[in-house]
């Protein structure tokens, strides 16, 4: 597979979607390899021995792990089009800060919405919305987090959009009612082919989440 690009991924993973978007933005041809996470392949275990997780990007036979590291790698190697990070160091630092914020806060508070009930769930919903509002503040009046153009933070965050419906169903709330600007931003991103092609169908995500809940023994 010299020169070849392979992505080990799982269809519903928001982290995998980030990489799919980046690859599509750069028009990179690659082999998509769907992984069975309950029965991990030898390839996955060999390519990510530390975490044994997807996504794993394999380029020229060598693995890169961690979705944001993969996105930065793609941006650096295929630097002839669609730059995802800005050139200025301060703007890059700001972009990295907010992508880190998404990593630290969104997945955790989102997961707690479907994993918990009652007071715990209310607290998770509150935190999730607060985090989205902070992101809305950062977006301001810009079209994208990257300013005029779609960029790194947009890539980091937009995959969560296809999980919103599932969170809303589990938590019995409306994200759009609380964060209309953010939903407007997400819909704007969905107009891009790279995003539309990469995100999973929200209904399918919800079905998958229901199965996960059963497996975890959560009603």
């Amino acid at each position: 597979m010299e020169g070849g690009v392979v992505l080990l991924d799982f269809w519903a993973s928001m982290f995998g979607m980030r990489v799919r978007i980046a690859l599509a933005e750069k028009e990179i041809k690659y082999e998509y390899s769907e992984q069975d996470l309950r029965n991990k392949s030898d390839l996955l275990l060999q390519m990510n021995p530390v975490h044994k997780k997807i996504p794993v990007l394999i380029h020229n036979g060598k693995p890169i792990c961690e979705s944001l590291v993969q996105v930065q790698y793609i941006d650096e190697v295929w630097n002839d089009q669609a730059p995802l990070l800005p050139a200025d160091p301060y703007k890059r630092a700001t972009a990295r800060f907010w992508a880190d914020f998404v990593d630290k806060k969104m997945y955790d508070s989102g997961s707690r919405i479907w994993k918990t009930k009652g007071e715990e769930q209310e607290a998770a919903k509150k935190e999730f919305i607060e985090n989205l509002k902070l992101l809305e503040g950062e977006l301001g009046d810009n079209l994208y987090f990257g300013g005029e153009g779609f960029g790194y933070v947009d890539v980091a965050l937009v995959p969560f959009y296809c999980w919103f419906y599932a969170y809303e169903q589990c938590g019995n709330f409306s994200i759009e009612a609380e964060c209309p600007k953010l939903i407007a931003w997400a819909k704007r991103c969905m107009q891009k082919e790279s995003v539309a092609k990469s995100l999973a169908d929200p209904e399918k995500v919800y079905e998958f989440l229901l199965q996960l809940k059963k497996a975890y023994g959560i009603e």
């Binding site: 060598k62 890169i64 590291v69 790698y73 190697v77 160091p89 301060y90 890059r92 800060f97 902070l134």
Partner: protein, 223 residues
């Protein structure tokens, strides 16, 4: 050249990472110690999202999160680069920096826990050290960065310097030199680098601090 300020706390390994980078690059900066129990308006202004140290202020603009700060320093002052030039090598380095971020942060906080929780933390700590030993360090390489230290070495400063102190204060045992020979060599090499020696907080001061905190924890648990 625009002024550089660092808002920090001497006892924090995240703060130490930034000091290491600033000193390695020979960047002059003004240090401001924050009282974390009584955060200054300046800190809250410069890091409204997380309200945490370290915060680097350069030309009046703030950069938060130690890993983000390290990259900002490296890109703004490109002499003595702290990351490999090759994109793949750089991706590997960034992977390990994220690993350090995700798995080593509990070390400095381990004085807070006792009993079963402590046993569990010790086990997780051991597993983290095993991972570094097996996958992160290469036999014969002095540092993560090769012959010279780089951003990955700096990122692991809590393993090099805080772990030993916490182990002494809590009686928790996760690191054994014979079990982790490569890590042991790395720690000795890392702490011998003159700039690092200058940047690490004094051991006796750290022991006194953490012992004091540990006593408070134990006292509150027995009352």
């Amino acid at each position: 050249m625009a002024a550089v300020k660092l808002l920090g706390a001497w006892v924090s390994p995240y703060n130490c990472r930034v000091i290491c980078a600033l000193k390695l690059k020979g960047i002059a900066y003004e240090y401001m110690e924050e009282d974390l129990l009584n955060k200054s308006p300046l800190l809250l202004q410069y890091n409204p999202v997380h309200k945490k140290i370290p915060v680097l202020v350069h030309g009046g603009r703030s950069i938060c999160e130690s890993a983000v700060i390290l990259r900002y320093i490296d890109e703004t002052w490109p002499e003595n680069p702290l990351l490999p030039a090759d994109p793949y090598e750089r991706a590997v380095a960034l992977f390990w920096i994220k690993f350090a971020d995700d798995t080593t942060f509990p070390i400095a906080m381990m004085y807070l826990i006792t009993g079963e929780e402590q046993k569990k933390a010790a086990k997780e700590c051991s597993e983290m050290l095993e991972t570094i030993e097996e996958h992160g360090l290469v036999e014969g390489k002095k540092f993560f960065g090769g012959d010279e230290i780089n951003m990955v070495d700096i990122a692991f400063c809590s393993v090099a310097h805080w772990l030993g102190v916490i182990e002494e204060v809590t009686g928790l045992k996760a690191f054994e030199p014979h079990k982790f020979p490569k890590l042991n060599s790395w720690i000795l090499n890392f702490k011998s680098v003159p700039v690092i020696k200058e940047s690490l907080p004094d051991i006796e001061t750290m022991l006194a601090f953490f012992k004091g905190r540990r006593e408070m924890v134990l006292a509150s648990k027995s009352s």
